[in-house]
């Protein structure tokens, strides 16, 4: 695609960025105030970020249809977890499971694990459930739940897309090693968070 349409859209995007926002004085930091805070929520914790990016990396490594099926499974099941967290159902061990997700998904990328698609989907979905639960349990009341949730889901999807974009280097020989290195980094991050959760 030519870059001209994108360049032509830039002034309008810049103008939109300069639009006056609502006055947010005295709004407690972290409260659910709309799209922006919903968008920031999943990317504000590194333990969530590495797991979501790892889902994309693993999907790219596994190829079709996992490349899109895993990143669809995660937000959907994450929303189920968010729902459980919001309505206050207990789900013990969420922090531990989140830390384990980084460790497990990192290990899967590092070893280029190729389980059956259903097994990969269950693994990703299970971890998505705990990530969603942690987010749902933490949410505070805000002005617009729908915009908050939209930002939340969009950020999660974009983290997966980032993982997929990075994972596309898998098509080259050097890229496979680089991807496995990224898996090792995710695994190390998961190990750190697991240690922090247990300590």
């Amino acid at each position: 695609m030519s870059r001209k349409p994108i360049i032509a859209a830039l002034p309008v995007l810049a103008l939109a960025a300069l639009l006056p926002g609502e006055a947010s004085a005295h709004i407690v930091r972290g409260e659910a105030v709309g799209f922006a805070s919903g968008f920031m929520h999943p990317i504000s914790g590194l333990d969530h970020v590495i797991a979501m990016v790892a889902v994309g990396l693993w999907g790219a490594q596994l190829g079709r249809p996992a490349i899109w099926l895993l990143p669809v499974t995660f937000p959907l099941v994450m929303a189920v977890g968010g729902f459980l967290g919001l309505i206050g159902l207990p789900l013990p061990g969420a922090e531990l499971a989140i830390a384990l997700s980084g460790l497990t998904l990192g290990a899967a990328v590092l070893t280029e694990a190729r389980p059956p698609l259903a097994v990969a989907g269950v693994v990703v979905g299970l971890f998505g459930l705990f990530h969603g639960y942690a987010h749902g349990a933490e949410l505070s009341p805000g002005q617009n739940a729908l915009l908050y949730s939209l930002g939340f889901v969009l950020a999660t999807g974009l983290l997966h897309a980032t993982g997929i974009a990075i994972g596309l280097v898998h098509r080259w020989g050097w890229g496979r090693y680089a991807l496995r290195g990224a898996g090792a980094a995710v695994m190390a991050g998961g190990a750190y968070f697991l240690w922090a959760a247990l300590a």
Binding site: M1, S2, K4, P5, I6, A8, A9, V12, L13, A16, A17, L19, G21, E22, G34, F35, A36, W68, P71, V72, P75, L76, M78, A79, V80, G82, F83, L84, G85, L86, I87, G88, G136, L139, P141, Q143, N144, A145, L146, L147, S149, L150, F152, V153, L154, G157
Partner: protein
Amino acid sequence: MSRARLLALVAPPFIALWAAPGMAQAHLVATGLGPLYDGVSHFGLSPEDILPVVTLALFAGLNGPAHCRAAALALPGAWILGGIAGLSGLPWPPIAVSVASAAMLLAAGGLLASNVRAAPRLCAAAAGGLGLICGLGDVAGVAMTPAHLVSLAGMAAAAAAVFVLAASLTLPLTRLWMIVAARVAGSWMAALGLLAAGWVIRYGALAR
């Protein structure tokens, strides 16, 4: 200019403008252009209306022109009927309306994500249900006046226009990755509906 280039040019500023933070103005939209455009603006500023309409339109578009026609006809009529019920002065519980809105988003997202082959009648029924709930939610508790009826017509017209435009995006899709992208968007909308439902259960009715 190809459709993809036109979309790349038009979509980003609209998305940016729509996502930009603004003041909450539920039921207080006054454009100064009259009640009809107030209604159009209300629709344009209400994500709880736009998101399910666009989601259902993308689903209808994937299913074919007959589905689009049936749903595009059912949606505005049902919107006006729901709105008249809302203006009737009956005490509609806001939580029930919010739960129904969340359920419609979940259902529309689920239909799009699964890309199920449906009969045009099912599409029309889904659009009818969506129109009833959105129309009711938009004006529930508002007094029945001629101006509000005209605003309601503006909302229904805007919903129909957006529906047709969104359906036209997916109607001609044949490439797999484009269909997958639409289905991924559906899964996100289903997730959104589920989160909104949880939110309603925990904190009460959605802000409108």
